[in-house]
């Protein structure tokens, strides 16, 4: 089986600052990888590099066996919700239709084939009823499901999902994680799924990619979520507490992920 994603000594920068330095890793086709790390650790930067939006300073990046290129139709992408989707009152169907062939010039007329693609994608995520609901009246969970459906249109082989659980309650989060896990297995999709909390992904992900201080660690949960690896990535002593099927990443007795999650919601309110 070939690699879906391969980074070879890649260095990625944003505004002149190296966010990820000299990263080498490979994700196999069909793998479901959870991407974790503090805010600013490079999760979104990595996704943008795979999409061809940020060129690597050095090193090489290949996606599905080819060098990265912008507008790769084999990638389904779900951007972070905080900036995507304004409060438009258009129907879910119309929003998805706008994205079909959205890179071509012309008038956005929707063919019967395209309309069927949209219905099928919504059916795939069990959200057929969202087609006829205005975007502005959808809850956070419904919007996320609409966006997951959109990412699936065109039968991509790789899904890049940037924080699809932001703003969702634990139950809704579980629904989205199970949904993606099921799709990944059924359609042999490679998935990179970034999140704040590891526990929501436990049991579904094949491996975890943890980012921090310009470095990356990719491996099974047991390999990566260890005091030695995480202390290196956070640059501070980290304890890992396993209890009741959950894993807590602690620094000085406080839960790092939970803290970060709260902090992040605060940020969003301010935006």
């Amino acid at each position: 089986m070939s690699d879906a994603i391969a980074l070879d000594h890649a260095t990625l920068s944003v505004a002149g600052r190296a966010v990820l330095s000299d990263i080498s890793l490979a994700v196999a086709e069909g793998e479901f990888v959870g991407v974790l790390g503090a805010n600013g650790s490079g999760k979104t930067t990595l996704f943008k590099a795979l999409l061809g939006l940020i060129p690597a300073d050095s090193g090489a990046i290949t996606v599905l066996g080819r060098p990265v290129k912008r507008g790769n139709p084999e990638i389904g992408y779900l951007p972070q919700l905080k900036t995507a989707l304004p409060g438009a009152r258009l129907l879910g169907r119309e929003v998805l239709a706008a994205g079909l062939d959205g890179h071509r010039f012309g008038v956005p007329l929707v063919s019967a084939v395209a309309a069927r693609d949209i219905d099928r994608a919504l059916d795939n995520v069990g959200a057929a009823e969202l087609a006829d609901r205005p975007l502005s009246e959808m809850s956070g969970g419904e919007r996320q499901r609409l966006l997951v459906a959109q990412a699936l249109i065109g039968n991509p082989r790789l899904l890049l999902l940037d924080e699809p659980l932001i703003g969702l309650d634990p139950h809704q989060s579980q629904v989205v994680v199970d949904l993606i896990g099921g799709l990944s297995r059924a359609l042999k999709l490679t998935v990179l799924f970034s999140a704040h909390e590891l526990n929501q992904l436990l049991g579904t992900i094949d491996r975890v990619l943890y980012l921090g201080r310009g470095e990356a660690a990719l491996g099974t949960v047991a390999e990566v979520i260890s005091p030695a690896v995480l202390s290196r990535l956070y640059g501070a002593p980290i304890q890992v507490v396993r209890a009741d099927g959950h894993i807590f990443v602690m620094s000085h007795g406080r839960d790092i992920e939970r803290q970060q999650d709260h902090h992040d919601h605060h940020d969003h309110a301010g935006l």
């Binding site: 943008k48 999409l51 939006l53 912008r70 507008g71 990638i75 992408y77 951007p79 972070q80 900036t83 995507a84 989707l85 304004p86 438009a88 009152r89 258009l90 129907l91 119309e94 929003v95 239709a97 706008a98 994205g99 062939d101 959205g102 890179h103 071509r104 010039f105 012309g106 008038v107 956005p108 205005p134 959109q150």
Partner: protein, 264 residues
């Protein structure tokens, strides 16, 4: 009323402009860029008065200045913080220059008033010809970019990832807004451009959740406002622009009421 040539020209000119303003305005409201549209109208004032100062037709001055300003605003990008402040400063400066140019040309107050508030009943055959060409060009160009424009308005990050040149599309769109502003000024003047470019599309987006229906409704409402406004002006002898603003407000209030009733 239709026996007079100037009335026929008023209906034709306002009809063309209303459809263009309604269609372009739909995307302007969808993108949340109404302030940019507002600014372009004020910047146009300097263009019109400056053109008069050097002996050019005001319409050409307006087009040159607004399209130039639109490209500059578009190039500033969507995410630059303080962009609205920068636009606001330029907007005031333009009005200042407009005032200076007016003084230097020693034009009379009527000309200034018609520039600020429109003079649809004074549209010349030549101006009508310009509006036909400009209107057709604006609508054609809008149709040509409408698909990537819609995508990058709704989901800029996804559009960028899919290869849409969102910066270029943004600049092209603002240039079309500038052309629509230049045309609207002929009908309702610099100060009241919003009454055709923002009122009808905002009302349409409150009432319908469908794209094509929304665009058609927006253009239709603008057209109805313009024609009814002229008719009321003819009957009452009050200014056309006054009636258009009244109708625009009524339409928007009615749309708000409709939307609210549907929610409850």
């Amino acid at each position: 009323m239709l026996a007079y040539d100037f009335m026929l020209r008023a209906f034709a000119a306002s009809g063309i402009v209303a459809v263009v303003a309604g269609a372009v305005g739909y995307f302007l409201v969808l993108r949340g860029q109404t302030f940019a549209g507002h600014a372009l109208a004020h910047i146009a004032f300097a263009g019109a008065t400056g053109a008069a100062l050097i002996g050019l037709a005001p319409l050409y001055g307006v087009i040159a200045v607004t399209v130039g300003a639109a490209v500059a605003i578009g190039a500033l990008g969507e995410r630059l913080s303080g962009r609205d402040v920068a636009i606001g400063v330029i907007l005031s400066l333009s009005l200042g220059f407009g005032l200076l140019f007016l003084r230097l040309t020693t034009t009379n107050a009527t000309q200034a008033t018609s520039l600020l508030f429109g003079s649809v009943l004074a549209v010349s055959p030549a101006t009508l010809g310009h509006l036909v060409v400009l209107g057709a060009a604006t609508l054609t160009a809008l149709a040509a970019i409408s698909r990537p424009l819609l995508f990058s308005s709704l989901q800029p990050e996804l559009a960028e990832a899919r290869g849409v040149p969102i910066r270029l599309i943004g600049i092209l769109f603002l240039a079309l807004v500038a052309l629509a502003v230049a045309q609207s000024i002929q009908i309702v003047g610099v100060l009241l451009v919003f009454t055709l470019m923002v009122g009808p599309p905002a009302a349409a987006q409150l009432v319908t959740t469908r794209l094509w229906l929304g665009i058609a409704l927006s253009a239709g409402l603008a057209l109805a406002q313009a024609w009814l406004g002229i008719t009321l002006a003819y009957v009452t002898d009050w200014p056309t622009s006054f009636w258009i603003t009244v109708l625009s407000t009524l339409v928007y209030l009615a749309a708000t009421g409709l939307a609210r009733r549907r929610l409850t």
